[in-house]
């Protein structure tokens, strides 16, 4: 189900009422909300755009993962108990129940791998076979990707590993565990919640005060505005049009669409997270934050500390640290960093575009660490700068030739090398404060440009966009590209006809406003908005919410799935 839909309004009104009506009866309440969560998973809205939700019976996979993880947790706990009864030590270094861990991780990751990656892998193998002049080696396969599988799989695997490591107790109550994994606010697109954060909250007395209510509502409203106005509206009116056939648009139009997508994906996902956090708070559950103004990041590492934080921290705890983190020397640290960021990238999707995206992010992370200059003098920095420039020159030129198909890739290589050299010798933003905007600008643009591979439907489309950017055509922007026909018509037909020119440029205006809001201090706005919510009569707040949902109908043809549903 999509949060920004009338369906969800109906659904949540009933669930909220039932939930609080059963506040004194944990079992009934847990049953109620678990059943509601499964209904939420199965009864998705029909999105106006993009692929349909997976059929309802895919909820069986969620149930299967739940059962496997639950039993594995119990199995591991039993193994520990047996060890205890044998008088063996039970410290953090002692591990029991490897078989259960292996089983649960294999089942969860196996399902994820099958549904998410097998189509791509078989196609890649067959492409290799075709290059070798042979017929397909593997049968073509394209399983449907169950909504939310990446999210609930990571939660399940994290739980089993925590139990195995002795950091979390095994949950013995199947209902509580089922609720943890299927709790609808985080079910389909996160945040990725840890059992150690979630389960203890079920034990606390359930209460909701007015402040909590107002803050939650504010959070939901903020998420809706982000999602509907800055995310979906910009996408539907502008970004999707350009990315549908990038070749038909000029260089500037493609670049602006990339900026548009950069804002859209942030607002889409962080808006979704805001709504999820707000909805969960209305049910007395706190979720971790998922975003912290990522486009204010000063480097790639900072970016990943601010973007989809629950995924980054998950991979840090369950991949990076087990690989050895930074404890095994510089070479191994670079490898561990690269692998972890590669997984972050490839988690987002299966396809060559995502492989390239993952490689770019992972390599940038390694570059970022290499040029941190901890204890490196001026000449050392110059040396690292030259090494980096040389490497980036070669890689950019190869990238330009092989991927973008440029007839002369050396200019691209030169530009890449120059940027790498400057970045490598540039003092860090925490050392020289006035350089902070430059660091932010460079990081933002790395993010914008790498999004080409994130958004493009195919490698050919990505190539087309990059070619447009590299061989600038100077066509400018066509009339009407930033307008919204429906809004324009609506205004023309109303008493606000004088404002119809605004509709012709509304997307560009929103784009500028969205980025401006991202860089302006948030606290004053939020305080004012929260005060307004708090001091307004309840009915008026309700009218405000209804207007937000009305905007959904006016600005868009209907609800649109979140981008991260596809991951």
């Amino acid at each position: 189900m999509l949060f920004a839909s009338f369906d969800f309004l109906l659904f949540f009104a009933v669930v909220f009422a039932g939930y609080w009506a059963l506040r004194g009866q944990f079992v009934l309440r847990a049953l109620w909300v678990t059943a509601a969560s499964y209904f939420f998973y199965m009864g998705g809205s029909k999105p106006v755009d993009g692929p349909l939700p997976t059929p309802w019976y895919f909820a069986g996979l969620l149930l299967f993962t739940t059962l496997t993880s639950y039993l594995a947790g119990l199995g591991i706990a039993a193994a520990r108990e047996r060890a205890r009864s044998r008088g063996e030590p039970l410290g953090p270094e002692q591990r029991y129940g490897q078989g259960w861990l292996f089983l649960a991780v294999c089942v969860s990751l196996g399902l994820l791998g099958y549904f998410k990656y097998v189509g791509f892998l078989s196609a890649a193998v067959n492409q290799g076979a075709a290059l070798a002049g042979s017929g397909p080696w593997l049968p073509a396969s394209a399983p449907l990707l169950p909504v939310g599988i990446s999210f609930y799989t990571f939660q399940a695997v994290g739980y089993v590993i925590d139990v195995y490591r002795g950091r979390s107790p095994a949950e013995r109550n199947p209902l509580r565990f089922c609720l943890f994994l299927s709790f609808f606010p985080h079910l389909v697109a996160g945040p990725i919640v840890r059992a150690s954060d979630f389960l203890p909250q079920l034990d606390r007395p359930l209460r909701l005060d007015r402040d909590e209510l107002d803050q939650s509502l504010f959070r939901i409203a903020r998420g809706l505005v982000k999602k509907v106005v800055f995310g979906d509206f910009i996408a539907a009116s502008f970004v999707d049009r350009v990315f549908a056939s990038p070749a038909e648009y000029g260089s500037l139009e493609n670049l602006l669409a990339l900026y548009g997508f950069t804002l859209q994906i942030y607002c889409d996902f962080s808006g979704y997270s805001d709504i999820a956090i707000g909805v969960a708070r209305l049910l007395g559950i706190r979720f971790p934050e998922n975003f912290d103004r990522p486009y204010q990041a000063v480097d790639v590492a900072d970016f990943w500390r601010r973007w989809h934080m629950t995924l980054s921290s998950w991979l840090r705890d369950y991949v990076y640290y087990p690989l050895g983190g930074s404890r095994l020397g510089p070479g191994r640290t670079y490898l561990n960093l690269w692998l972890t960021l590669f997984l972050v990238g490839i988690w987002h999707g299966a396809g060559w575009t995502f492989v390239i995206y993952a490689v770019l992010q992972a390599s940038a992370m390694v570059f970022n660490r290499y040029t941190r200059h901890d204890g490196v003098g001026f000449f050392g920095r110059i040396g690292r700068g030259l090494v980096s420039a040389g490497l980036v020159f070669g890689l950019s030129a190869a990238f330009g030739k092989l991927l973008v198909d440029l007839s002369s890739p050396w200019t691209l290589g030169g530009v890449g090398a120059a940027i790498a050299f400057v970045l490598a010798i540039l003092p860090r933003s925490d050392a020289v404060g006035w350089l902070r905007p430059l660091h932010i600008l460079i990081t933002l643009h790395f993010s914008v440009l790498s999004r080409v591979f994130f958004r493009a439907d195919t490698l050919d489309a990505a190539r087309e966009i990059l070619k447009k950017l590299v061989t600038w055509d100077g066509f400018g922007v066509r009339t009407g590209l930033f307008g919204n026909e429906a809004l324009s018509e609506l205004l023309r037909g109303s008493r606000l006809s004088w404002a119809s020119p605004v509709a012709d440029w509304c997307v560009l205006g929103l784009l500028v406003l969205g980025f401006a809001l991202h860089y302006l201090p948030a606290a004053p706005f939020e305080r004012a908005a929260q005060r307004l919510t708090r001091e307004s009569p309840a009915v008026l707040v309700g009218v405000g919410f209804a207007l937000l949902f009305g905007a959904l109908g006016l600005l868009l043809a209907g609800p649109r799935a979140n981008i991260y549903f596809a991951f």
Binding site: W20, Q201, L206, E212, P288, N368, T471, A538, A546
Partner: protein
């Protein structure tokens, strides 16, 4: 050393701590307030059904198609899922049916000598073409073109079947036209890419397979803007004329692919305008040989210059140097000696038949004659849909008149050429209840275009019906991969391929029928030397290095002579 990646978890742990330290406090007013908010939402929703002006904000209206919790109710209980699956399957089959195999390549055809008593031989195709769901109407109007295709099919020396295909943005990116070109060249042989403008006037103007770059310095004028209405009204064969800035260098570079469709070029022809103050154009081949083309003349007239090169892939660079007079040019043609097919794509973005009328009569007549077309095809209508509320509100007569005028103008240059009108494709629009429907004027416009074809002796292909008729835009938009762009009026790359496949299939089917019924009848042959081709001007040999001069042209003539119109 600190670990940059390790810092990621701070907000998570902080929040976990926060959640432990600040549990929700008791407050009896919270639920009452929540109830008040719910009442506010309900009242607002109710207001949209009571206050007429708020009707657009209704979350649900009868007949809107909205089904709550669609994935369970609509998809499973109401059976919409099955209908959508069937639709997706049908579109997938359509894509497969119209697909050109990735390994397809231009047919290599052996040339045959001219038969002494030319007759249509008995037709034994490698595989019969299945009858398409949508065939070409009035297909007898294509017999001239099919005759030329037969000559190509028989490998008769010098036989090239040329088509000029004009259209609006539906032909953008050379999507449909390149798709037809490749399909016909795979069947009959590749006689080259064909026509290309001197400059790209729009991002959507592109010729597939030709790597093109313009070095700037050109100022262009597209026929639909009528920017030369007060001058000579000469916009050229492709509808776009460029003038070089006399004070800066203007250039255009055309590189053919190393292999595959369009890779073999043996003639490169530049089309330009002679004029009293015209400057010089320099043409270099593979960045070595240089041919100088003089465009100065006492009177304004159209000219062209053909250069023969060794058959194969080449790079041609056209330059209008600074300091000379302005050069006005229409385009270039890349061909080989055939036998084969050439399909020129002329996408006039934003164009319509109304815009095409503004070409000077004699000029366009000369351009079409010069190109030696065997088939003249038009595919307009996308920009005429808004005329439902303007001049076509009450009668289609203005449309018949203007389209007929265009056809007559173009055919005057090649009366023997066949003519084909391809209807407007489906265009969708979103209704206020979220449904995507076919624009109401599409069907009347298709009917009007059929009538235009009938009145003017042209064949007609109902592209709208072939692609699926009513509601196609919605279905194509929903398909995966998407076949219609989000504006619901332009096909995507996949859509272009499907349309090209449908059109090529219909043409090939009718060609099959034509050949079957013509067996044993006399076959006209092309002239020994095509009369529309300029004679070779032996005195105008370019400054060509000897290496290139040594090659022999396919027709047995020296390969690197420059020809110019007298």
């Amino acid at each position: 050393m600190t670990d940059s990646f390790a810092q990621t978890s701070a907000p998570v742990t902080e929040l976990a701590a926060a959640s432990q330290s600040a549990p929700p406090q008791a407050g009896s007013g919270a639920l009452r307030r929540a109830f008040g908010i719910a009442c506010g939402v309900l009242l607002s929703i109710g207001a949209t059904y009571v206050v007429p002006g708020l009707g657009a904000l209704r979350p649900w209206a009868p007949g809107s198609g909205y089904v709550p919790f669609w994935n369970v109710i609509g998809r499973e209980l109401l059976g919409e899922g099955e209908a959508l699956a069937a639709e997706a399957q049908k579109l997938k089959e359509l894509q497969q049916k119209t697909e050109l195999p990735a390994a397809a390549s231009a047919k290599v055809r052996e040339r045959s000598a001219r038969p002494a008593r030319p007759m249509f031989p008995a037709y034994t195709p490698e595989a019969r073409i299945e009858r398409p769901e949508q065939t070409i109407e009035f297909s007898e109007a294509l017999e001239g073109y099919f005759t030329k295709l037969t000559q190509v099919d028989l490998g008769i020396d010098g036989a090239i079947a040329r088509t000029g295909h004009w259209g609006d943005s539906v032909l953008g990116m050379d999507g449909i036209t390149s798709g037809i070109r490749r399909r016909l060249q795979a069947r009959f042989g590749d006689a080259g890419h064909g026509f290309h403008l001197i400059d790209r006037y729009h991002p959507s103007y592109r010729q597939q397979g030709i790597e093109f770059s313009a070095g700037g310095g050109w100022e262009g004028c597209l026929v639909i803007y009528e920017c030369r209405a007060k001058q000579d009204r000469r916009y050229g064969y492709g509808g776009y004329v460029v003038s070089s800035d006399p004070w800066s260098v203007a250039s255009a570079v055309y590189t053919t692919p190393k292999s595959g469709f369009g890779s073999t070029v043996s003639t490169f022809e530049v089309w330009f305008q002679r004029q009293p103050r015209g400057g010089k154009l320099e043409l270099s081949i593979d960045r070595q040989e240089k041919v100088v083309i003089e465009t100065r003349s006492e009177v304004i007239e159209d000219g062209s210059r053909m250069v023969y090169v060794q058959p194969g892939p080449h790079t041609f660079t056209l330059t209008a140097p600074a300091g000379g007079g302005p050069v006005r040019a229409y385009g270039v043609v890349l061909e080989n000696d055939g036998p084969g097919v050439v399909w020129d794509g002329m996408a006039l973005i934003g164009g319509s038949t109304r815009g095409l009328r503004t070409q000077d009569d004699e000029h366009i007549e000369d351009q079409v004659r010069r190109r030696g077309l065997d088939l003249i095809a038009f595919q307009f209508g996308g920009n005429d849909l808004a005329r439902k509320y303007v001049d076509l509100k009450h009668s289609m007569q203005p449309y018949y008149d203007e389209y007929g005028e265009v056809i007559r103008k173009f055919r005057a240059g090649r009366p023997e050429a066949s003519c084909l009108i391809l209807s407007v494709i489906d265009h969708g629009e979103r209704k206020t209840d979220d449904r995507i429907v076919t624009k109401s004027f599409v069907k009347p416009l298709v009917a009007a275009q059929r009538e235009v074809a009938r009145q003017n002796g042209c064949a007609f292909f109902d592209t709208f019906q072939a692609m699926g008729g009513e509601g196609t835009a919605a279905r194509w938009y929903r398909s995966n991969p998407r076949m219609m762009a989000p504006d619901l009026g332009h096909p995507t790359g996949t859509g272009h391929e499907v349309l090209a496949g449908l059109i090529a299939h219909a043409l090939l089917y009718d060609y099959d029928q034509f050949r079957s019924r013509m067996a044993g009848k006399p076959l006209p042959l092309p002239a020994e030397k095509a009369p529309e081709k300029p004679p070779i001007d032996l005195d105008a040999l370019p400054d060509v290095p000897p290496a290139a001069v040594t090659a022999q042209g396919a027709a047995g003539e020296p390969a690197t002579r420059a020809g110019s119109e007298p």
